[in-house]
C-alpha cells in the first residue's frame, strides 16, 4: 500500500513536468512578448516608449532570452518554491497565489462536497426505485443540468442576484468581515456566500454522477450476490447499502479524475463570470498580457490540484476494493 502511494507520487512528477512545458510553450506561442503588449497598452494610453527603453525593459525582464532559458529559470524557481514574478501586476506570483488560491480551493472543495452530498443519495434512490416518480423527476432534472452550461447558469444567477440586490458583483463575504482576521464566523460567512456558486460549478458533474451511479447500481442490483444476501435473511435496505451501493462506488471513484478536471474548468468559467477573486480571472488577464510566469504557474497549480485529486481517488479505490489492494 505504502509502495503503491510512493509509486503513484513518482508517476505524478513527469506528468506535471509535461504540463509545465506544455503551458509555457503555449503561452509563448503568440507572436511578441510581454514587453510588446505592455508597449501597446502604454501607447493606447498615449505614453510614448522609445525603442531604447523597450530594449532595456526586455533585458530587465529577461524576455529576450531564448525560450528554454526562460523556462529553466522559471522551473528552477519553482523547485525552490518561487513561482516567479508577474510583470503585469508587478508582484511576485507567490503573493498573488497566496491571496487567491484559498478561494479557488474553497470553491473546489465546496463543489466536490456538494456534488457527493447530492449525487450519492439521489443516485441510490433513482436506482432502487427505478421508474418511480422520483426517478423520472431526477432523470429529467439531470438531463437539464447536463444540457445547461455552467456559464449560462452563472449568468442567470448573476442576473437574479442583480434583481434582488442591485449589485453587479457577487462578493465573497459581507463587508464587515473583509478586513477581519480569519475566524469561524468569517469562514461561515464566506461559505454562505459561496455555496450557490459552488453548486453551479458542480451542476454538470452532479448530473453526470447521478446518471453514472444509477446505471452502476442498477447493474449491481441484478448481480447474484444481492439475491444471496437477501436469501440469507438480511433486510433489503441493509443489503443495498452494504453490497451493491458500495460496489457501484468503484467506477464512480475511477471517474473522479475527469470529474475534478471538469470541476476546475467549471470553477474557472464561474469565477470569471461572477468576478470572484479566485485565480481564474487573473489567469485570463495574464494570458492576454502574455504574463507567462503568472499564467504558467496558475495552469500548473490547477493541474497539480487535479493530479493530486486523481491520486487521492486512486488511493481511495485501493482502500475500498480488496481486489485492487491485493494487486498493488
Amino acid at each position: 500500500m505504502g509502495r503503491h502511494i510512493v509509486r503513484r507520487l513518482a508517476a505524478m512528477i513527469p506528468v506535471l513536468f509535461m504540463i509545465s512545458v506544455l503551458t509555457f510553450v503555449v503561452i509563448q506561442l503568440p507572436p511578441g512578448d510581454f514587453v510588446d503588449s505592455y508597449v501597446k497598452q502604454q501607447r493606447a494610453a498615449q505614453v510614448k516608449i522609445s525603442p531604447q527603453e523597450e530594449a532595456s525593459l526586455r533585458a530587465r525582464y529577461g524576455v529576450d532570452e531564448p525560450l528554454p532559458t526562460q523556462y529553466f529559470r522559471w522551473m528552477g524557481g519553482i523547485l525552490h518554491g518561487d513561482l516567479g514574478y508577474s510583470l503585469a501586476l508587478d508582484q511576485p506570483v507567490n503573493e498573488i497565489v497566496k491571496s487567491r488560491l484559498p478561494y479557488t480551493v474553497t470553491i473546489g472543495v465546496l463543489s466536490t462536497l456538494l456534488l457527493y452530498a447530492i449525487a450519492i443519495p439521489i443516485g441510490i434512490l433513482s436506482a432502487t426505485r427505478q421508474y418511480s416518480k422520483a426517478d423520472y423527476f431526477f432523470s429529467v432534472f439531470g438531463f437539464l443540468a447536463m444540457g445547461v452550461p455552467d456559464f449560462i447558469l452563472a449568468v442567470l444567477f448573476l442576473w437574479g442576484f442583480y434583481k434582488l440586490t442591485g449589485d453587479i458583483t457577487v462578493g465573497l463575504m459581507d463587508p464587515q468581515y473583509v478586513s477581519e482576521p480569519f475566524s469561524l464566523a468569517k469562514g461561515a460567512n464566506i461559505i454562505s456566500h459561496l455555496w450557490f456558486p459552488a453548486l453551479i460549478a458542480a451542476s454538470t458533474g452532479t448530473a453526470a454522477t447521478i446518471r453514472l451511479l444509477r446505471a452502476n447500481l442498477l447493474d449491481e442490483l441484478g448481480k447474484p450476490y444481492v439475491t444471496v444476501a437477501l436469501a440469507k435473511g438480511v433486510p433489503r435496505r441493509r443489503v443495498i447499502y452494504k453490497y451493491p451501493a458500495r460496489m457501484s462506488m468503484n467506477p464512480f471513484i475511477v471517474s473522479a479524475a475527469g470529474l475534478l478536471a471538469a470541476l476546475v474548468s467549471g470553477e474557472v468559467i464561474l469565477s470569471i463570470t461572477l468576478g470572484l477573486p479566485t485565480l481564474a480571472p487573473i489567469f485570463l488577464q495574464s494570458l492576454k498580457n502574455q504574463d507567462s510566469e503568472l499564467a504558467g504557474s496558475i495552469v500548473l497549480i490547477l493541474s497539480a490540484l487535479t493530479v493530486i485529486g486523481i491520486l487521492l481517488s486512486d488511493i481511495l479505490l485501493a482502500v475500498v476494493d480488496p481486489r485492487i489492494r491485493g494487486s498493488v
Binding site: 437539464l144 456559464f151 449568468v155 442576473w159 474548468s265 474557472v268 468559467i269 493541474s303
Partner: protein, 383 residues
C-alpha cells in the same frame, strides 16, 4: 453428459432456425432503426436538429435581415409579439405585428418601446427584403417571412447596435452547429488512426500514446483552451480562427478520448476467439480490421461521438462567451452571448439571452439522440 446433449441440440437448432429465417429476418441495421425509432425523444430531437441544420444552411433565406445590418433607430428594441386579434377585437386570419414607437425619458435618457396599435403590419411568407445571394451565388431578395409592407419586424428583438437578433441567431447556427460536427469528425479520425496503431502494434508507440492521453485527460482542459485561444493571431480571418478553434477543442477532448477507446477495443478484440480464428484462417490485417474490428465497435463509437458533439458546442460557446476564440465580426451563439456578460444590459434587454436557449435545446437534442443511438446499439437490449 449434458454437453453432448447441448451440442446435438445446437446442430438441430441450426437447421430449424434456418427454416424459420425466411419468415422473420431483420438485418442488423433494420433492428438498429427499429430500436432507435422506439426512443421517441431521440426521434423528435433528430427532426428538430435536422430543421436547425436546414435553417443554418439557408440562413440568408430564413433570416429576415442581413445579420450585420444596423437599424440605429431601433437599438435594443424588444421582440414584437404576433397578434391575431386587432385593436377592435376582430379576429384576423392573417397574423400581424404592430410597428414599434419609442419614447425617450428626458431625465434619464432611457428609451422605452411600445406597440403602435394604430399601425398593424400584416405578416407574410416569401416577402421581398434585403438582397442576398442564395446558396452563395444566386442573387435573390425573397425571405421566408416578414411584413408585407417591408417595415421592420424583429421576432426576437434587436441587439445593442440595432441588429436583428433572430437573423444573427440563424447565422450564428452556421458556426455553432458545424463546429461540433467537424471537430468530432476530425478528432475521431485522428483518434482512430492513433488508437488503431497503438492497439494493434503495441510497443513504444502505445506506451507514449497512453502517457500523453493520460496527461491530457488529467489536466483541466479549460485553462489550456484559454491559453491556446489567446495564442490565435488577431489578424486571422473568421474562417481561419474557426478552424483553429475547432482543432484546438477537438485535440484536447475527442482525440485523446477516441484514441484510448479505440486502442482498448482493439486490444481486447484482438484476443477474442473469432478474431484469432480469422488470423488462423490466414486473413490479412486489413481484412480483420474491416470485417471484425470495425463492425464490433462502430455503433458504440457513433453513440459516443454523438454525445461528444454537445461537449464541443458547449466549449466553443463558453470560450467565445469569455471573449476568446471566435471574435466579432464572426457570429456564433457564444459570440452573441458576450452581450450578456454585462448584467445591466441583460436586465434592460433580457431577450439577448435567447441564444442561450438555442444552445441548451441543441445540446439536449444531441444528448437525447446519443442516448437513443446507444440503446439501439446495445445488442442485449430488446427490440
Amino acid at each position: 453428459m449434458t454437453q453432448a446433449t447441448t451440442l446435438a441440440q445446437d446442430a438441430e437448432q441450426g437447421t430449424s432456425t434456418a427454416a424459420k429465417l425466411e419468415i422473420d429476418v431483420a438485418s442488423p441495421s433494420q433492428i438498429f432503426r427499429w430500436k432507435f425509432m422506439r426512443h421517441r425523444l431521440a426521434v423528435v430531437s433528430l427532426i428538430f436538429l435536422a430543421a436547425m441544420y436546414v435553417m443554418a444552411t439557408f440562413a440568408e433565406f430564413v433570416a429576415p435581415y442581413n445579420p450585420y445590418a444596423i437599424e440605429s433607430s431601433l437599438v435594443l428594441a424588444p421582440p414584437q409579439p404576433v397578434h391575431f386579434i386587432d385593436s377592435s377585437g376582430a379576429f384576423q386570419a392573417r397574423p400581424f405585428v404592430y410597428a414599434l414607437k419609442k419614447s425617450i425619458d428626458v431625465n434619464t435618457g432611457r428609451i422605452t418601446y411600445y406597440e403602435d396599435v394604430t399601425k398593424p403590419l400584416p405578416l407574410g411568407l416569401f416577402v421581398q427584403g434585403d438582397p442576398y445571394e442564395f446558396l452563395g451565388f444566386i442573387p435573390w431578395d425573397v425571405h421566408l417571412f416578414g411584413t408585407q409592407s417591408g417595415e421592420v419586424y424583429s421576432p426576437l428583438g434587436k441587439d445593442q447596435l440595432g441588429r436583428d437578433l433572430f437573423s444573427r441567431i440563424v447565422f450564428g447556427g452556421r458556426i455553432s452547429l458545424t463546429l461540433g460536427f467537424i471537430g468530432v469528425f476530425v478528432g475521431f479520425f485522428s483518434g482512430l488512426i492513433l488508437g488503431g496503431i497503438a492497439g494493434l502494434r503495441g510497443g513504444w508507440f502505445d506506451f507514449i500514446l497512453i502517457r500523453i492521453t493520460e496527461v491530457l485527460t488529467s489536466i483541466p482542459t479549460l485553462p489550456i483552451w484559454l491559453a491556446l485561444a489567446v495564442a490565435l493571431p488577431q489578424d486571422w480571418t473568421v474562417l481561419q480562427t474557426y478552424l483553429a478553434v475547432t482543432i484546438i477543442l477537438a485535440l484536447f477532448g475527442v482525440v485523446s478520448g477516441a484514441s484510448r477507446t479505440v486502442r482498448g477495443k482493439f486490444m481486447s478484440l484482438k484476443e477474442e476467439g473469432y478474431v484469432q480464428a480469422a488470423v488462423l484462417d490466414g486473413a490479412g490485417t486489413g481484412r480483420i480490421i474491416r470485417r471484425y474490428l470495425f463492425p464490433n465497435f462502430f455503433s458504440y463509437q457513433i453513440a459516443d461521438l454523438t454525445l461528444a458533439i454537445p461537449g464541443m458546442i458547449l466549449a466553443e460557446t463558453a470560450l467565445s462567451f469569455l471573449g476568446l476564440g471566435l471574435q466579432p465580426p464572426a457570429i456564433s451563439w457564444g459570440v452573441l452571448l458576450q452581450d450578456c456578460r454585462a448584467v445591466r444590459v441583460l436586465d434592460t434587454a433580457p431577450w439577448l439571452f435567447i441564444p442561450a436557449v438555442f444552445v441548451v435545446v441543441v445540446i439536449l437534442a444531441f444528448n437525447f439522440i446519443g442516448d437513443g443511438l446507444r440503446d439501439a446499439a446495445d445488442p442485449y437490449s430488446r427490440v
